[in-house]
Symmetry: C2
């Protein structure tokens, strides 16, 4: 691999570049993005070798392009890439909701390009963002989910897999639909619920006491609320179809617990709490 | 302080005894409880100096009694204490919902005893339980909330405050009602919501994948689900009146987000997420 391009050199893209430099995965890593200062900073930090703000220049000669920009920016970017990228150049992304990204790719890329698009999602991150927050170890032993579609070229899939393994990650493939369902459950829904709880409590006033006395429960909920609201808006909007039915089931379950609390039905509470704890202990290997 | 009695030598009572021994707070700490094996273990571990399973014997000559049993056991225990305790003996508890505990105390203690009952709640704990999980540092720099009532004797309040400070904690006093509202928000409601989420996901099947891909969001939610379901049933049952209106507001807020997601109203999502993050950053000093 001679050279690769990282579009969006923030926490995710920057950490990928750092982790690949660590193992000399390729000769040159080029940065591209909208924010010239971030790109300059990325060069200063040694995250990328050079940067350009000219997309046609950026893609010239590269074998692999990683799109690590907010999901809401991807549709337009894919169209711009379609105009300048040579056939056979592999493009992969890091979006947290794959159905939306695949739809954008299908809308932008023709039959020559689509096979070389490999949808991906590294399950890694921190509450921080920007290139200054990036670090080479972010993906070590973390899972990366690739969601190839019918059209995906198997050699392209293999290249992207190899890249993530070089970055330290463990790679699994699953379908777009399965990915979006599982991630809605494990990540997207919890974020929606946590944002909602904190927003409600703040609206009640007395926030200072509430945050001061925050014991285990609340602290765990609020940690994830530090995440970037714009990124989470994009993720939730991008995975609406998988999130909505889950949210409905969740509201139903909470309403049942509400009834049990209202009726002082301790047995029903105990049954629910016990089932949840048993599952947690079973799967988390406690 | 010559001797004190700890009723219920588990994580909470055991850790209190250990922390007080650390500073030689009193000459002797006696353990009492239902589980003879736990009590024997407590003596082996040096958590208490001796134990008895005879309550009349246990209370003889002690100046201070700490009740660290599940809240559902307190009403009966208070009645038994009322039969054997000398007037002037200070009794305090560690229950997470104070309204219920105070009601039980008022039902059991007469006008001579009630002034010497000091309701308390240490905001500390781990997911583990039992005397083997106890440790002397549990309360270091943690907050203990005391909720004196109209009848509470100020010297008794002072003694219990001094004890918790000796155990390493920071002590604050607030009203029973305020305590129960704030704790419903910061601890009880989050636990109910987390148990509900895990229970729902487990019912959906595919649990193995869900737990395997559990990223930040879900992992934070599920950590608190490891807590003892019996204890949490007691807490939720004991603070129903404060939890119910909060739960109703929460369901309303989540329903509004559901509508926003359904309508693809990204602005509404962004507004909620941003408000929550701003409050979190403001109060958590990020």
């Amino acid at each position: 691999m001679s050279s690769m391009l990282v579009i969006g050199v923030g926490l995710i893209g920057g950490s990928l570049a750092r982790s690949l430099k660590r193992v000399r995965y390729c000769d040159e890593i080029i940065g591209f993005g909208r924010d010239r200062q971030q790109l300059q900073r990325a060069v200063e930090l040694g995250v990328v070798d050079r940067f350009t703000t000219d997309l046609a220049d950026a893609v010239r000669g590269v074998k692999l392009i990683i799109v690590a920009v907010p999901m809401s920016v991807m549709p337009e970017l894919f169209h711009r890439l379609a105009e300048v990228v040579d056939a056979g150049t592999i493009i992969s992304d890091v979006g947290s909701a794959k159905g939306t990204v695949v739809a954008a790719a299908k809308a932008a890329f023709d039959d020559q390009m689509l096979p070389f698009f490999v949808p991906g999602h590294p399950i890694a991150g921190t509450e921080n963002s920007g290139v200054d927050a990036s670090f080479a170890e972010l993906y070590d032993q973390r899972q990366v989910l690739l969601t190839p579609i019918f059209e995906t070229d198997s050699a392209a899939l293999y290249e992207v897999e190899a890249m993530w393994r070089a970055a330290g990650a463990e790679v699994e493939t699953l379908t777009v639909e399965h990915h979006d369902e599982v991630l809605a459950a494990t990540s997207h829904l919890p974020h929606v619920l946590a944002y909602s709880l904190v927003d409600m409590l703040v609206a009640m006033g007395d926030s200072e006491k509430i945050f001061r006395y925050a014991a285990g429960g609340f602290r765990d909920f609020t940690r994830i609320v530090s995440s970037d609201p714009l990124m989470w808006r994009d993720i939730v909007m991008g995975n609406r179809e998988a999130i909505l039915p889950l949210l409905d089931r969740y509201i139903e379950g909470v309403a049942q617990l509400r009834t049990a609390i209202h009726r002082a039905d301790g047995d029903a509470l105990f049954a629910t709490f016990s089932r949840a704890k048993a599952a947690k202990d079973r799967y988390s290997g406690k």
